[in-house]
């Protein structure tokens, strides 16, 4: 009997011991490794409020060069070389296979997801710690996150023609069908209302002055100026959205106030960056070019923050030379007439600037001029421009054209406000009849005069005898075409012109505005089939399966 009792005790203790250990084990399974920040711990302090914002910016950096390859390869500026991998050829051939990773919009959604997550987490943090951060800092941070998101959606719209619209972060598996898939027009409307209406009372129009935050009371240093450029500014973003949406008055009024910039000398296309200095926007340190550059994505080779621009464009080792400029695009530069009215060729944007011949091959040179020496050629850290002054001027000109302010539109395109005012002293018209604005913007040289090109006007018609609505429409379309041609040169390789083609082809319901330009770069046999393809507007966008 005693033996049996001993056994009972033995079993009992064993059992109790096991239960004790198992009972207290929940934290045992919550291992915390040092290389991940768990969801529940974020945002844990004010510092992480900034880190999270930087995280969105880092995701923008990851995706920044993508639109250049996707749009210029499908536009008329780029074609793949023999070195290029299948992915690039597929994009060029408008024949994209489902697993083409370059065509994958994932990285744009990553920006959106991080922005959504940040906005949600920032409000949670603010609610829990109302006094941890001032509204003057908190609100611009959230507003900036909204604009990162709007920018990413706008890119999705322009590249894919549709997007799944998300208000909240997707950090766990979800039923995607509950989120609306918006077509382009609907998406633009949604983005405008997000910019204007915002989230929880914070709209997309607040700007954080980083120097005030980092070094209050100290005058702005060069470094801080770059910080101020990293997030798309409210005005260019809204101007572009309004333009896509056909709100031309808003484009012009917001655009004029933006370039007026409270009377400062910025964003005027003045004579500071004329002729040979034009090219410096693309390779010089952005803080030296703040008169032109509004928003950029900075890169830093030393910190492993690089893009693929030089790698894909340069044919100097170790770069890969996947892409080169097309004959069609180069031909456009060569046909331009300079200000003297005689000399042919875009002297400051064409050969040797946007492109050149190196080692016997045509190479895109626009971004690599500062990197051509052997000790620099591998440093793939040239900045990507989100918005610059010329974009805004071309947008304003496009809107003015739609508003039938042809002379004023042409002023921005051709030889500038300065010449316009001196030529039309007595009959200034909207929007160049605003004395306050004029006092500041009368230094404007116009897009073409800045690089020593002569003015262009729609062929076969004179502004003076636009006596029928048909003639007005014809002139308008002609000027649109000129604006488009100008975009193709001014913004070659910057992911602008293909979108302008879409915008105008849509506006005029004339797919040939796009199809003719793009198909011109293909060899003769291919050209016709690509043209036929692009006469169908649904083929303008990348068809990528989001249900995978």
């Amino acid at each position: 009997m005693t033996e049996a009792m001993k056994y009972n005790a033995f079993y009992k203790y064993t059992l109790i011991l096991s239960l004790l250990v198992l009972g207290s084990c929940e934290s045992y399974f919550e291992t915390d490794t040092d290389d991940m920040l768990l969801e529940e711990n974020y945002i844990g302090n004010t510092n992480e409020l900034y880190s999270g914002y930087m995280g969105i910016a880092a995701k923008v950096q990851t995706v920044a060069d993508k639109a250049i390859f996707l749009s210029e390869l499908r536009g008329d500026f780029l074609e793949p070389t023999d070195n290029a991998p299948q992915e690039l050829w597929e994009i060029y051939n408008y024949n994209i296979s489902p697993d083409n990773s370059l065509a994958d919009p994932r990285e744009y959604y990553d920006v959106i997801s991080n922005a959504n997550n940040y906005i949600k987490k920032a409000f949670e943090y603010k609610q829990a710690n109302p006094n941890a951060v001032e509204d003057a800092v908190f609100e611009p941070l959230v507003s900036g996150a909204i604009r990162f998101k709007v920018w990413a959606y706008l890119m999705l719209g322009k590249l894919y023609g549709e997007a799944v619209y998300l208000e909240e972060p997707l950090t766990e598996e979800a039923d995607l069908s509950q989120y609306p898939k918006m077509e382009f027009e609907e998406l633009i409307g949604q983005l405008i209302s997000l910019m204007e209406g915002g989230v929880n009372g914070i709209d997309g129009k607040q700007v954080l002055i980083w120097s005030d935050l980092l070094f209050p009371g100290v005058s702005t240093s060069a470094q801080d100026l770059t910080w101020n450029m990293i997030c798309p500014s409210p005005e260019p973003l809204l101007i572009e959205l309004y333009l896509w949406n056909g709100n031309y008055e808003q484009v012009v009024s917001l655009g004029m106030s933006f370039i007026y910039d409270q009377g400062s000398g910025r964003y005027k296309l003045g004579n500071d960056d004329y002729n040979g200095e034009w090219i410096q926007f693309f390779y010089r340190d952005p803080i030296t070019k703040t008169r032109e550059l509004i928003n950029i994505v900075p890169f830093d080779y030393q910190r492993q923050q690089t893009n693929r621009l030089i790698d894909y464009f340069s044919n100097t080792k170790p770069n890969k030379y996947y892409l080169r400029p097309t004959e069609a695009a180069m031909g456009r530069f060569q046909q331009q007439v300079r200000q003297d009215g005689i000399t042919i060729g875009d002297n400051y944007r064409g050969e040797n600037y946007t492109y050149w011949r190196q080692n016997g091959e045509w190479v895109v040179r626009k971004f690599s001029r500062a990197h051509e020496t052997a000790d620099n050629i591998h440093k793939n850290d040239v900045h990507v421009i989100l918005y610059r002054a010329a974009d805004i001027h071309l947008f304003i000109a496009e809107a003015l054209n739609q508003m039938e302010h042809f002379k004023e539109a042409e002023a921005f395109l051709n030889d500038g406000v300065q010449n316009y005012i001196s030529r039309n002293e007595d009959n200034l018209a909207y929007p160049l009849n605003n004395e306050t604005y004029n006092a500041a913007i009368n230094i404007n040289w116009g897009v073409r005069r800045r690089i020593d090109l002569g003015p262009v006007y729609p062929e076969g018609l004179s502004k003076e005898d636009l006596d029928t609505p048909e003639k007005i429409e014809q002139y308008k379309k002609g000027l649109d075409s000129l604006l488009l041609e100008e975009t193709c040169m001014e913004s070659a390789g910057e992911a602008r012109s293909y979108f302008a083609m879409i915008r105008m082809a849509k506006r005029w319901n004339d797919p040939s505005m796009l199809a003719d330009r793009v198909s011109a770069k293909y060899p003769s046999g291919k050209s016709e089939s690509i043209r036929n393809l692009l006469m169908q507007p649904e083929n303008w966008f990348i068809d990528y399966d989001l249900n995978k």
Partner: protein, 1035 residues
């Protein structure tokens, strides 16, 4: 008399038994057991054999005729018979009063199919005792090779200290761990099995922490018994017991081995004339102007007066220069002994294995102390401590001529000199520079690049045993393993220009360094009992155990120190410098139990079970999983109709079902977390994962059945086992909609099945006192198949090495197939090419001299969509066989290993037949297509390979089947002499012969532990042949 029973539950029957037992008591106070003990050598009687019976007082000894007689209470229980020089035998009496026993002599053979063991409280498995280790074994892998049915041990290459990939029964997990769980002295050992970030293509042997001389036995647990380790047991369990003190007698053992390793395998490369002709050929496709080409390659001009001819007038066999024979030594000393209170086993070992390139070797120092202390009559303290320091000097085994001497010596032009020369053709002491072919000087690679790994490992394991009473004991164990490694790499090139710049010419020299740390903390409390239940023995136990592991690695990477003299990270250029690393923490705990019930000696039912949880599973997954494993064994030999058979010694039939799991996957997969991404000089926080919070354990149902048999005094021993494993809830990365912003999410969505047969047989053809000859071996067949992949109906393609090649997974197929293009020879004529009209994705046509790739989707375009499965690395069959002949004390044994039906991606040959640049090529390119109409299988030379003739295709997939003479040993047993107790001396040859059709250097290779990387030849150093002399002595 007891009934020979099956399960009897009714009280009536129990009562009847009780009555019968009482009757038996009364009737048979004493029984007389008689018997005879003889040896298998001509039935010669054995005198002075000891006979005892469990739980009985009386013992007996045999007389001159080998006969004995013993008085006992019942004719039941187990009879133990032992005689000096013979193996102990345990025989159940089963009511017999006369018994004939044939004792099997103690053997000195190294090969023996492992026998099943399920000693009290332990899991059932096949045991390989130290006596069966090949005497020339230096590493644990040498012992495991070909030893256990089902276990495939594939040497990673010839680099010393790299070990082997060990796999049981194929691929069972796509994300989790695929290697068997290693238990050292009862404690799970979970090393870091990633390839090094510092030294590419290198991962150290997981067994480097242990000296093979310190091992007492190795046991492999495969079937349902592995359920005791629950969600760690899905890949089998390899239990290693280190040597422990058994007797009080002081014993000193010394073993030493000394030998040479050499490599006589060479790949045929172009000689001087062929090389020049090739350069001319490929040069014409690069330079339009002949003059440009001749400026770059002046030796193509046949100009005897050319001043620089001395640079190009050499005939260098680079492979010959790089290969060196190396010394292999190992010394190991053990002292064991003690008294009734404390016993110890202390050993120290030192070994040094040179590789067959200069500056490769593995030096290791090990020490281990195992002790047992009787604290009181019931308390016993058992501790073991081990310390290991290992130093590896290495070269990278990747397709890079700056760090892999093999690749450098294959690529390097034969016309160049290894040393600088002056214009009078005199050799100067410095190594010659890279020169215009862009290939590093192999001698500089061997001697000037520095790749080193230092490893410090410490084991501590302490247990307290408490004997509650005769039936029960309790145990508490605490164990800790800490592994620390420091790796550094330096690739020079800046000062002497003897090594080609890295990173596309940007890195003139490269420095990398990193440290890694692994810790395993283990604890266990357990209780075991032995009881009688309904007259039959029941062994049972419960326990609670847990492991906490941390794996961390941090590395720094930089380039361009100011001169090659400065080899550390502190001197690298700020530009291009970066850091990276990983940290994974994984905890596991388990409540386990087992029971083994033997019924009437014939039927054994055993149950192993674990209820366990691991930190890797998601918050919404079930925290604990329950893993039962049940096995029934019928010991037919003990049945009435076989128990007296002299033919059948053993006939066990077993069938088992076991559920195990796999929770050994990274903890982060199931978590929603954020990670860091740098932005300018600041750190940004970004989404890290789309969490699958319901991510659970993988589930492995294993059904196996088999027979273990022995006949004719165990002259014929055989076992055969069939198994079928269904692995469900297998985790794989499912690609998710781009809308998530994250590429993939890990889900429990796949299902894998493994089916196979394992067999082992051993036949003693001749067996006399003076001469014996036996043969035997194992053969294993395994088939892996994916049977489901949720949401991935098509083929899951995994691009490897930046898209250089690919593996695929799809339903109905092996988990990792080589995925590439199918080739159909070289297009012979332009007419034929035009008729085919195939173009590539660029629109360029495949012309005469290009490879005819199959247009699988028949769209006229050869592009990525034309890829398909072109092979896989899993063997259809593998195994080993051996033969051993003994004459008196001299014996000769040989072991062969083989593998059949596995494919290898020969990445080296792809490089050597790519015909795309000015590096030297394989001799095969002499057959390259040169004229229209030429019939050949090697395409034309074309600079840059614009048509992708050397793309990843079946051209590079080869049959990796082989038959290898793994080991030959000639040994002599030494007798007792003076203070000298005995031992053996031997001469051994390892890896002397390999029969294979594989065109690379060595068909036995494994790039990494991960299953996706098997069968990839990236320029692995071939396993050297080794000849050794050695001895094991006891004092």
């Amino acid at each position: 008399m007891k009934m020979e029973g099956t399960m009897i539950k009714q009280h009536k029957v129990a009562l009847l038994i009780a009555v019968m037992m009482v009757l038996a008591f009364g009737a048979n106070a004493q029984q007389v057991l008689k018997g005879k003990v003889s040896s298998p050598y001509g039935d010669a009687p054995i005198s002075d054999a000891y006979i005892s019976i469990a739980n009985e007082e009386s013992t007996a000894q045999t007389d001159e005729q080998g006969e004995f007689s013993i008085e006992i209470d019942y004719l039941e229980g187990n009879l133990t018979v032992w005689a000096p020089g013979f193996q102990e035998q345990v025989i159940p009496l089963l009511g017999r009063d006369y018994i004939e026993i044939v004792l099997i002599p103690q053997r000195t053979d190294y090969y023996d199919v492992p026998a099943k063991s399920d000693a009290r409280g332990n899991m059932k498995g096949e045991v390989l005792p130290a006596e069966r280790f090949k005497p020339s074994a230096m590493y644990v892998e040498d012992v495991l090779q070909g030893a256990f049915p089902g276990l495939n041990v594939i040497n990673k290459g010839g680099m010393p200290g790299e070990g082997a990939t060990v796999n049981l029964r194929g691929i069972r997990s796509l994300t989790g761990k695929n290697a068997p769980l290693i238990i050292i002295n009862g404690m799970p050992y979970l090393p870091d099995m990633n390839n090094s970030a510092i030294i590419q293509g290198y991962s150290p042997s997981m067994f480097n922490v242990l000296s093979v001389d310190d091992i007492d036995n190795i046991k492999l647990v495969t079937g349902s018994a592995a359920s005791r380790y629950g969600s760690m047991g899905s890949n089998g369990v390899l239990l290693i017991e280190t040597s422990s003190p058994k007797d009080m007698e002081t014993v000193i053992e010394f073993s030493g081995q000394y030998g040479m390793a050499y490599n006589n395998k060479r790949l045929p490369v172009l000689g001087v004339d062929d090389f020049k002709s090739y350069i001319g050929d490929v040069g014409l496709t690069r330079y339009e102007d002949m003059g440009d080409m001749l400026d770059l390659f002046p030796f193509l001009r046949d100009d005897p007066d050319y001043y620089y001819n001395f640079l190009y007038n050499n005939q260098t066999d680079w492979q010959e220069l790089v290969d060196k024979s190396a010394f292999v030594t190992s010394n190991h000393l053990r002292v064991k002994g003690g008294d009734a209170i404390a016993k110890y086993d202390l050993s120290v070992g030192a070994s040094n294995q040179g590789g067959t390139y200069d500056n490769t070797n593995f030096t290791r120092y090990t020490t281990r102390l195992n002790a047992q202390i009787e604290l009181s009559q019931r308390f016993q303290l058992v501790t073991s401590m081990g310390l290991t320091y290992g130093n590896n000097k290495l070269h990278e085994q990747i397709l890079n001529d700056a760090t892999n001497p093999l690749m450098a010596s294959l690529y390097k032009a034969p016309i160049l000199s290894p040393f600088k020369k002056d214009e009078y053709n005199n050799q100067l002491p410095a190594y010659d520079a890279v020169r215009q072919f862009g290939v590093s000087n192999p001698l500089a690679v061997v001697n000037d690049t520095k790749m080193e790994s230092d490893n410090f490992d410490a084991f501590l394991n302490t247990g307290l045993n408490f004997e509650v009473n005769d039936h029960a004991k309790m145990q508490a164990v605490f164990g800790y393993y800490s592994g620390y490694k420091r790796q550094s790499a330096f690739i020079p090139g800046r000062s002497d220009q003897t090594i080609a710049p890295q990173e596309e010419g940007v890195a003139l020299n490269t420095a990398r360094a990193g440290t890694g740390k692994v810790s395993n903390l283990f604890y266990k409390v357990s209780a075991d009992i032995v009881e009688e239940l309904a007259g039959n023995p029941l062994e049972a136990g419960v326990g609670y155990q847990g492991v906490m592991t941390r794996h961390e690695f941090d590395g720094g990477f930089g380039r361009n120190t100011s001169s090659d003299f400065y080899k550390t990270l502190s001197y690298v250029d700020a530009e291009g410098r970066y850091f990276s690393g990983y940290h994974n923490a994984w905890n596991w705990m388990s409540l386990y139990g087992y029971a083994k019930y033997t019924m009437g000696n014939q039927w054994i039912a055993s149950l192993n079970m674990s209820a366990d949880g691991a930190s890797s599973t998601g918050a919404e997954a079930a925290r604990f999983g329950v893993y039962p494993g049940l096995e029934m064994t019928w010991q037919a030999k003990h049945s009435p109709w076989l128990k007296n058979s002299q033919v059948v010694n053993q006939l066990d039939v077993h069938v088992g079902y076991g559920l195990t799991g796999n929770s050994q996957f990274p903890t982060g997969l199931s978590r929603q977390f954020y990670t860091s991404q740098a932005y300018r000089q600041l750190a940004g926080i970004v989404n890290g994962n789309v969490a699958n919070t319901s991510l659970g354990r993988e589930r492995n149902q294993n059904l196996d059945a088999g027979i273990d048999a022995g006949f004719f005094d165990r002259r014929l021993v055989a076992s055969v086992n069939v198994y079928h494993t269904i692995s469900s809830d297998v985790i794989f990365p499912q690609s998710i909609s781009s809308v998530y912003g994250i590429e993939e999410m890990y889900i429990n969505g796949a299902r894998l099945e493994n089916k196979g047969v394992e067999a082992a047989i051993q036949l003693r053809l001749v067996d006399n006192r003076n001469i014996s000859w036996s043969v035997g071996g194992t053969i294993n067949k395994n088939q892996n198949k994916i049977t489901a992949m949720e949401g991935a109906e098509g083929t899951l393609i995994r691009e490897m090495n930046g898209g250089n090649w690919a593996v695929s997974s799809s339903i109905g197929q092996n988990p990792y197939n080589f995925y590439g293009f199918v080739s159909n020879g070289v297009i012979s004529t332009q007419e034929e090419a035009d008729a085919l009209g195939l173009i590539d994705y660029k629109g360029d046509q495949f012309n005469a001299g290009d490879i005819h790739f199959e247009d699988l989707n028949q769209d006229g375009v050869i592009d990525d969509q034309d890829r398909t499965i072109i092979g896989d690395a899993s063997p259809d069959f593998f195994g080993s066989f051996f033969t051993q002949v003994r004459y008196k004390k001299l014996s000769l044994s040989a072991q062969f290993t083989f593998s059949a039906g596995n494919q290898i991606y020969n990445g080296v040959r792809r490089e050597m037949e790519s015909l795309s640049d000015f590096r030297n090529q394989s001799m095969a390119v002499d057959k390259r297509w040169q004229t229209d109409g030429q019939q050949t299988d090697i395409p034309k030379a074309n600079y840059g390979d614009p048509m992708g003739n050397s793309r990843f295709s079946d051209r590079w997939i080869e049959d990796g089947s082989y038959l290898r003479l793994n080991n030959v040993t000639l040994s002599y047993q030494l007798g007792k002499w003076s203070f000298f107790e005995g031992g053996e001396v031997y001469l051994a040859g390892e890896n002397l012969l390999t029969f294979t059709d594989y065109l690379g250097l060595d068909p036995v290779l494994s790039y990494a532990y991960q299953p996706a990387w098997q069968g990839v030849d990236y320029g692995a150093m071939p396993l050297p042949s080794t000849v050794k002399f050695g001895f094991n002595l006891q004092f």
